[in-house]
């Protein structure tokens, strides 16, 4: 059946309103978008790393999660969900459960790129039938916008502040999608919120319904951390894609690289940087070299991605 956003939005929400995420937060958009890809009859067992999505979605005694949901700690959603999935296999084998369950882990970039990296890598290597979703907002937003290994170079974060001696984060963003591809798992996808959410929906479906461990990296902007107006979520995502800062692509079994979208006119990276307060200092006189460096980095990554996808 062809994708139809209107029909998709008519489905009952599996992550409902009433949660306490900020207006314009990308995390809830990611969670709702992913869960819409579940078949209505399928049960889901959802895990979440400590982070904005956890502390805003499940405040005792309220929960926004309509499916079974577990949070245990920050660095271990990969392991926690792999335990649940192993239990499900044991119970299936023993004939103690009939229903079909899908296992979905959510983590922010802190819980995925950094503190939860080992647990994620282990879960993927062991081959659990689960999806790991990273809602990547490029800093530790829950604790107050500290830099992560996902924070882009030069971004102003509270532990990599743009000062007179050190102009923001010095290191480049870790390429987690490629790191996961190197696990040679059946499916890895990179997406964000674009036009009618078709790319997100299709990748979420593939990730959920491909047997084995799968990973989906979703750029999920944070208006507070990135410092742009709440209502501009979709514009920011579009610019990330049109500048090739965040290409849309997928990798099958670590071997087959597929580019899902090629901008007709690749926009300069400064179009993406300018609307975001975290890059403000890059536009001060004398800092042109920073924008140039950012452009070179994007170009290099993009060119190598194109090569791999051809």
């Amino acid at each position: 059946m062809a994708y139809n956003l209107k029909q998709e939005l008519a489905k009952p929400e599996r992550f409902t309103g009433g949660h306490r995420l900020c207006a314009g937060c990308g995390a809830s958009v990611a969670a709702r978008g992913v869960l819409r890809a579940l078949d209505a009859d399928d049960k889901a067992l959802i895990g979440c790393a400590t982070g904005c999505l956890q502390v805003s979605g499940f405040l005792y005694p309220y929960t926004a999660w309509q499916d079974s949901y577990i949070h245990s700690a920050f660095e271990n959603v990969g392991a926690t969900v792999s335990g649940a999935e192993a239990c499900y296999r044991a119970k299936k084998k023993r004939g103690e459960i009939d229903e079909n369950y899908k296992f979905i882990a959510f983590g922010g970039d802190g819980g995925t790129y950094d503190i939860g990296f080992q647990s994620l890598s282990g879960a993927m290597e062991r081959g659990h039938d689960m999806v790991y979703i990273c809602y990547d907002n490029e800093a530790y937003m829950n604790t107050g916008i500290q830099r992560s290994s996902s924070t882009p170079q030069f971004a102003d974060a509270t532990t990599s502040p743009a000062g007179s001696a050190i102009p923001g984060k010095q290191q480049r963003k870790k390429d987690m999608t490629e790191v996961l591809a190197a696990h040679n798992i059946p499916y890895v996808g990179q997406t964000t919120f674009i036009s009618n959410f078709k790319d997100l929906h299709e990748k979420a479906r593939k990730a959920i319904y491909t047997q084995g461990p799968t990973f989906l990296n979703i750029l999920a902007p944070c208006p507070r951390g990135w410092r742009y107006p709440n209502e501009n979520l979709m514009e920011i995502c579009k610019l990330a894609v049109e500048t090739c800062v965040w290409p849309l692509y997928e990798i099958i079994n670590g071997e087959e690289w597929i580019l899902n979208y090629q901008p007709k006119n690749k926009l300069p990276v400064e179009d993406y940087l300018r609307p975001q307060g975290r890059f403000f200092h890059m536009f001060l006189p004398g800092n042109e070299w920073m924008i140039q460096k950012a452009q070179n980095a994007v170009d290099n990554k993009w060119n190598s991605l194109i090569k791999r996808c051809n």
């Binding site: 700690a73 649940a84 499900y88």
Partner: protein, 393 residues
């Protein structure tokens, strides 16, 4: 008929787990507990169990996976020692707060700094306040029995807490002893099935577990855990009695050895109790009124019962196989002295920290402790309360 065998402590635990058949074992190797998942993975590979064996990439993930299993409604088990238990620390509290009856086979080993693979109790003693029930074993038979009882105790509706079944690294884990095993069908019917009312894999009633819970509810959460730990004492006694009916082996919260008329006593945990009993026997032959108490259940702590058992004794040495760096004694000492505070004619009490990192403890060491107690009774002078046994000056 019980089955007679010769097994190491690790084999005994693995065998108990084979008979129990949990849904999932998630484990990471660390000396000296490594053999437990090793034996168990062989059972899984050979089709002797239908348990899912998950070879996780760390102990933190081992316990995290067990949390996922138990929250889903399955029986979970892991095994670890020393630094492995230390790496689990964060998740110990998560598991107990979620009221998940996970069983953790602890093979006690010294914590690193410097690295040391031998036995003491610094690992599990450090975890004593994490909301887990702690059962300690003197020998291979006891760790086998405790492992089986652990599931029943933790899963009891009045308790719902995780349980550590501890044994001494190498001393019992690798020492082979004669042991009596139960028939597997007896174990199966003793442990029954695990059907928690709240579980993730309940298609009719999805649940959310592990909330953010601030000042408005956190304290009720903790009080419920504390209440469950209080309830656990009676449950442990009841289940131990039930176990005695099928095994013929009786267990309480602690064992009293020649305590009836004892004037001097030591309080001790684990395998050193065996050495201490031999010491008691030889001193008794000389007519000395000595006895010992071996703690089996450290959490919940048998405070009132211990006070009663020590009430008539003149002098007590509490033996800690863990240094707590409190500058005034080890954890067992702190709790035992607290238990005896306020009882009429409370015994004079000293603390010996002993056997750290596998420092040998022999009959002579324990005899030395009893002779110190004799001096205290004779002179009425306690002297230094906080002492270290068999240490270079």
């Amino acid at each position: 008929m019980a089955i007679r065998d010769r097994l190491s402590g690790n084999e005994a635990v693995a065998h108990a787990l084979k008979q129990i058949g949990p849904d999932v074992m998630a484990a990471f190797p660390i000396t000296p507990s490594t053999e437990i998942p090793q034996y168990f993975s062989a059972y899984a590979s050979n089709g002797e169990v239908d348990t899912e064996f998950v070879a996780v990439e760390s102990e933190h993930s081992a316990l995290s996976a067990c949390v996922g299993v138990a929250a889903s409604g399955g029986r979970a088990v892991t095994a670890t020692s020393s630094c492995g238990l230390a790496l689990m620390w964060e998740m110990l509290y998560v598991a107990s707060s979620m009221r998940l009856p996970i069983v953790l086979a602890v093979v006690n080993r010294a914590l690193t700094g410097p690295i040391n693979i031998n036995n003491d109790h610094s690992d599990s003693m450090g975890a004593r306040d994490s909301g887990w029930i702690q059962l300690y074993a003197e020998n291979n038979q006891e760790v086998y029995d405790n492992t089986i009882m652990a599931y029943r105790i933790g899963e009891h509706p009045d308790v719902k807490l995780p349980v550590m079944a501890c044994q001494d690294g190498f001393i019992t884990s690798h020492g082979i002893e004669n042991i009596e095993l139960l028939e597997s069908d007896k174990v199966t019917s003793f442990i029954g099935t695990f059907n928690p009312d709240v579980r993730l894999l309940n298609p009719k009633h999805p649940v959310s577990m592990g909330p953010y819970s601030n000042a408005s509810y956190y304290m009720e959460w903790k009080c419920q855990q504390a209440y469950a730990m209080k309830q656990a004492k009676q449950v442990i006694l009841d289940i131990s009695k039930e176990y005695a009916n099928i095994s013929g082996r009786e267990y309480g919260l602690f064992e009293e050895y020649k305590m009836e008329d004892a004037e001097r006593a030591i309080v001790i945990i684990g395998s050193s109790a065996g050495t201490a009993k031999a010491t008691v026997d030889s001193l008794r032959e000389k007519g000395e009124k000595v006895g010992l108490i071996k703690i089996r259940v450290f959490r919940p702590f048998p405070m009132d019962e211990l006070a009663k058992a020590l009430g008539h004794v003149k002098a007590v040495a509490v033996m800690d196989k863990a240094e707590s760096f409190s500058a005034c004694g080890g954890p067992l000492f702190a709790e035992t002295r607290s238990a005896c505070y306020g009882i009429p004619n409370a015994p004079k009490m000293i603390n010996y920290v002993y056997g750290l990192g596998g420092r040998d403890v022999h009959v002579g060491c324990i005899a030395h402790v009893y002779s110190d107690l004799e001096k205290i009774i004779k002179t009425g002078d306690i002297g230094e309360t906080y002492r270290h046994l068999s240490v270079r000056e």
